[in-house]
């Protein structure tokens, strides 16, 4: 054998919890254009999760570079945050901010972020796979 071997790109699977799906459906009902933009960004995260911007202030070594975000509807729009893991090649959408940034109040959103994160974790650990869907 000679020459350079081309490295096959890793294919990720996208596992979406029902809480994120509900957030998407609510957005789609309110603003179909933003819903479309979200789907585009989700697809980008699935195609190559390293394309999103890393949350650099997360200092835990186990999470380094694994939590990332995309903007939805432009830089002043919503934020789509996801976790990915190269081992099992999985992308997990975690959170979608529900308001565009100029109106965004973190203190109102934090309880929901915490609840959603804990719910995804609990269902994953319990193997409640019916709470998840795969987006192809």
């Amino acid at each position: 054998m000679s020459g350079k071997q081309s490295k096959k790109p890793r294919t990720y699977r996208l596992l979406m919890h029902e809480s994120f799906q509900q957030a998407y459906l609510a957005l789609q009902g309110e603003d179909p254009q933003l819903g479309k933009s979200l789907i585009t960004q989700i697809r980008k995260s699935k195609a190559d999760p390293t394309n999103g911007s890393p949350l650099d202030d997360i200092l835990h070594p186990a999470l380094a570079g694994k939590l990332r975000k995309f903007h939805v509807g432009g830089g002043k729009g919503l934020r789509y945050v996801y976790l990915f893991h190269a081992g099992p090649s999985v992308v997990l959408p975690i959170y979608l901010s529900t308001e565009s940034k100029p109106k965004f109040k973190w203190e109102q959103s934090l309880p929901s972020i915490e609840t959603v994160a804990q719910q995804i974790l609990a269902d994953f650990q319990a193997g409640n796979w019916s709470k998840f869907q795969e987006m192809n």
Binding site: Y24, I58, L83, F124, W129, F132, E134
Partner: protein, 221 residues
């Protein structure tokens, strides 16, 4: 310009203070005392309240925030050589103190900027407190702190200082970066993400039990 919550500011403040200890902060009593020093300045920004307790200046809020930083894995609590480890059933307990070590110091310049939002003097005051008091022999540190007039004038278990920072702090950073800070310093969120990451490593996903998301195709959007 964005804003962050008071609790996020406190977490950044304590992380920055602990990071200034180049070899780690030896013992919790020392951390309380050194964190107290910058709050003594007149017109000081006071993220933490301090009471006069049995072992001197003590802040319950600081203790909570320290625990949160440890739970997020941003600070390591390493038992001191002089500590005694007790094993009860399968659990190990350390008596006699810890050395607190910041795991990643790469973002400290950014945190100086965050702290400077309330007063440009804060980072300098913290640096100075750690430099002057951080590595004193413990008894010397305690003696110095007991000599402060406001400490002497306070009755046991009474407040020496109230915290005085606002609930929302405007920072000269884009909204987006403030949102990142809030998320990155939220202990509940970080704990869930660390454990989810572990679960991804160890627990196989039963893909055959996962349904396809039919209403999420691009054509439906």
């Amino acid at each position: 310009m964005g804003s962050i919550s008071a609790d996020t500011f406190r977490r950044v403040y304590l992380l920055y203070l602990l990071a200034r200890f180049q070899k780690g902060a030896y013992g919790l009593k020392r951390v309380h005392k050194v964190a107290y020093i910058p709050e003594r300045e007149s017109n000081a920004v006071r993220p933490f309240e301090f009471r006069k307790y049995l072992f001197g200046q003590y802040s319950e809020t600081l203790d909570d925030i320290k625990d949160q930083l440890i739970s997020m894995g941003y600070v390591l609590a390493v038992p001191l050589d002089t500590a005694i480890t007790m094993k009860i059933d399968d659990d190990e307990y350390s008596l006699g103190g810890n050395r607190f070590v910041v795991r990643d110091r790469t973002r400290m310049n950014r945190y100086r900027h965050v702290l400077g939002a309330l007063s440009p003097d804060i980072p300098k005051l913290i640096d100075q407190a750690v430099k002057e008091y951080g590595y004193l022999i413990e008894q010397e540190l305690v003696n110095a702190c007991y000599r402060f007039p406001e400490f002497k004038a306070t009755a046991p278990e009474r407040l020496i200082f109230e915290a005085n920072i606002p609930e929302h702090i405007d920072i000269e950073l884009p909204d987006d970066e403030c949102a990142d800070l809030e998320l990155s310093f939220n202990p509940v969120f970080i704990d869930a993400m660390v454990r989810l990451n572990e679960a991804l490593e160890t627990q196989p996903i039963e893909w055959e039990a996962v349904q396809e998301a039919k209403n999420l195709s691009a054509s439906n959007a």
